[in-house]
């Protein structure tokens, strides 16, 4: 008899998730149809390569991940503005990219975002082409702010969902500002109050906010069906989505989009206990959100972009107190559910490497940007799978020969014995055709294991 999910060990859960990833199904449960037997073989080989790397084994060759946001659009002369507002243009540009470059794994085109949804909701966290930055801009840009105030900590700690709904959402979406007028949903506890509790939903501005939500929902539903179709077509060609879900370090949750850089740094000094308590509340939420994505997408990989724990951003003491224990708890939580955390370490991680040894062996993938790769291999080669390190500067301003030499060194030194995935060091909006081709084609040729 098959074991129930909750009776499985983390390793058994992971095996199950990999098997699901390797044999995709249609929503009705039938087998997914590839465009050719060769495409199916390629798809399965790519999943197997990923699995081999995670297990620190030698795959048939070094696999390749290109981390990009608008690179496929910019490489093909299509404006990011166009792909944010016209899914047909998104499909054309991103499909061209996959067909011409053939990386093993791709970053979902959904990361391009949908300009119409942002407009309907009056989204404050981004400036995007045509909105705050020129229509010709090469991508969107993040607007940092103190979207959560210091005095909001108790509300977040008491009831995160209520804080998100009635305080945070009204601040980051202009159209949802009236939601701050609705009462907490936990007020609904007594039948005689069921009528009176609906009064706020009759207030015209609240109704406008609800209409905006419905309008955004309609747009999102149409958009995601098209994105889904694009991804299915990539899969039918044998390409593999790099991730199923996403999560973050609890510190980054607060630092990136809630408190902002300045706010969070003050918090470490002025209200450290509140900060710790808030992260404790966020940890299970981060795990649940990541696992949920992996299950729905039938892909075990959880992408975690790491930001404020990089070299220089905090002291070792602060890292040990405010960053690492909470991040480790998220990683262990994900691993226990059979997921594979893929952590993207933008900047340098040289001063943090010793902590990574505490992780369960052969369970995580770390994509490095500017970290000393030789030291990573030496210190952590038996613990974590390693990826990355091809610099954006090299790819955008270097020559084909420079790129080949750089990749050769990575394959020779870091790829030795397996456990390595070729990847660029940061998510890129721009691209340069000859160097991106060189990175991919050279790795396919030279990165074959004997």
């Amino acid at each position: 008899m098959e074991k129930k999910w909750e009776e499985m060990s983390p390793g058994e859960k992971r095996e199950t998730r990999f098997a699901t990833w390797s044999s995709p199904k249609l929503p009705d449960g039938k087998d997914f149809q590839f465009q050719s037997p060769e495409a199916e073989v390629n798809y399965k080989a790519r999943v197997q390569r990923f699995k081999d790397v995670i297990e620190l084994k030698k795959p048939d060759r070094v696999p390749i991940l290109i981390m990009s946001t608008f690179m496929p659009a910019n490489l093909h002369g299509v404006l990011p503005y166009d792909v944010m507002y016209d899914t047909d243009k998104l499909k054309t540009a991103y499909t061209k990219f996959m067909v011409e470059y053939e990386p093993d794994y791709y970053i979902t085109p959904a990361f391009a975002g949908n300009g119409k949804i942002f407009e309907i909701l009056d989204y404050k966290l981004l400036r995007w082409p045509g909105h705050g930055i020129p229509k010709e801009a090469s991508g969107y840009q993040y607007v940092e702010g103190e979207y959560m105030k210091p005095e909001d900590y108790p509300a977040l700690i008491d009831d995160p969902s209520d804080f998100w709904l009635r305080t945070y959402m009204p601040r980051i979406f202009g159209a949802l500002e009236p939601l701050k007028m609705i009462p907490p949903f936990t007020d609904h506890w007594e039948p005689v109050m069921a009528g009176p509790n609906m009064i706020p939903f009759g207030i015209p501005p609240v109704q406008e906010a609800l209409k905006a939500l419905m309008e955004a929902g309609n747009e999102a539903m149409a958009w995601i069906q098209q994105i889904g179709a694009i991804e299915e077509s990539f899969m039918s060609m044998g390409f593999v989505n790099a991730a199923g879900g996403a999560a973050k370090a609890p510190f980054d949750y607060l630092a990136d989009t809630l408190r902002g850089s300045r706010g969070i740094m003050m918090d470490m000094y002025r209200r450290p206990d509140m900060l710790l308590k808030a992260m404790e509340r966020i940890t299970p939420i981060a795990i649940k959100s990541g696992v949920g994505g992996a299950t729905i997408q039938r892909n075990p990989v959880i992408f975690l972009p790491l930001h404020r724990g990089a070299d220089g951003f905090m002291s070792d003491e602060q890292f040990r107190k405010f960053y690492w224990p909470q991040l480790k708890a998220v990683l262990v939580g994900l691993i226990n559910e059979g997921c594979v955390p893929a952590l993207f370490c933008e900047g340098g991680y040289n001063t943090r490497l010793q902590y990574l040894k505490e992780l369960p062996k052969a369970s995580t993938l770390w994509i490095f940007d500017r970290t000393d790769m030789v030291r990573v291999k030496k210190v952590l080669g038996n613990t974590i799978a390693i990826a990355g390190n091809v610099p954006a500067g090299l790819l955008l301003t270097g020559t084909v020969d420079d790129v080949k030499a750089y990749c050769k060194n990575l394959i020779d030194v870091i790829g030795k014995g397996g456990g390595y995935m070729m990847a660029n060091g940061t998510g890129m909006d721009e691209g340069k055709a000859d160097t991106i081709h060189a990175m991919i084609d050279f790795t396919k040729e030279y990165g074959v294991y004997q």
């Binding site: 840009q141 220089g312 951003f313 905090m314 002291s315 610099p391 301003t397």
Partner: protein, 209 residues
């Protein structure tokens, strides 16, 4: 030996430092003397950052404490009491890029290190940099950029400075996000720095101080 205020500020003792200033002012202490001590404190912060004892949070936090101290001192300071500056520097985030955190740290560190900094802000066009060089007579220009699009904006800015005939009058440093030696060569800048302290070291090397 650092004064009491310099020590409190450099040790990031916020309430104690503010209380000290309040009491000193009430007792009639010289506000310029207190400001001098606060600057001495910031110098110690800078040294600790350079030596790897302090990190970005300490820079930012000390800056916040300094801001509060200056606010308390300001009503007591006579105009024109500004201390001598070592030299002039222009700093800005290049065209197309709206990120300011790294740029602000560089401005802050240059300022507390005694330089007169013209902060042009974010998304600064090449022409604005050229105009600022002409208007201020600054001899060092710092170009900041977080996104990869900044590579080309930086190159265009350096080119515009060359075209304006100002290239031999200024030293140009670049920094931020994905900037490295490779990008430095591409843009035609004189140097790149990987953090705010390196910006200070480069500037000191060029201007002195």
């Amino acid at each position: 030996m650092a004064g009491k205020l310099a020590k409190l500020l450099s040790d990031l003792k916020e309430p104690e430092a503010l209380e000290y200033v309040e009491k000193a002012l009430a007792k009639g202490s010289d506000p310029m003397g207190l400001l001098g001590e606060a600057k001495e404190g910031m110098n110690i912060v800078g040294q600790r950052f350079a030596s790897g004892k302090y990190f970005i949070p300490e820079l930012v936090f000390s800056g916040e404490i300094l801001k509060s101290i200056v606010q308390m001192l300001e009503p007591h300071l006579k105009k024109g009491e500004e201390a001598e500056r070592l030299g002039k520097v222009i700093v800005g985030t290049v065209a197309g890029d709206i990120h300011d955190i790294g740029k602000d740290l560089v401005v802050f560190m240059l300022d507390v290190s005694g330089f007169e900094v013209t902060d042009l802000g974010i998304d600064v066009s090449a022409q604005k940099f050229v105009d600022a060089i002409n208007n201020t007579g600054s001899t060092v220009v710092g170009l900041s950029g977080f996104l990869t699009l900044a590579f080309d904006s930086m190159k265009e800015t350096v080119d515009a400075i060359v075209k304006a005939g100002l290239r031999d009058k200024v030293k140009i440093m670049i920094g931020g996000g994905q900037i490295d030696e490779q990008v430095k060569s591409y843009t035609g800048a004189d140097a790149y720095g990987k953090d705010a302290m390196e910006a200070v070291t480069l500037t000191k090397g060029w201007i002195g101080g």
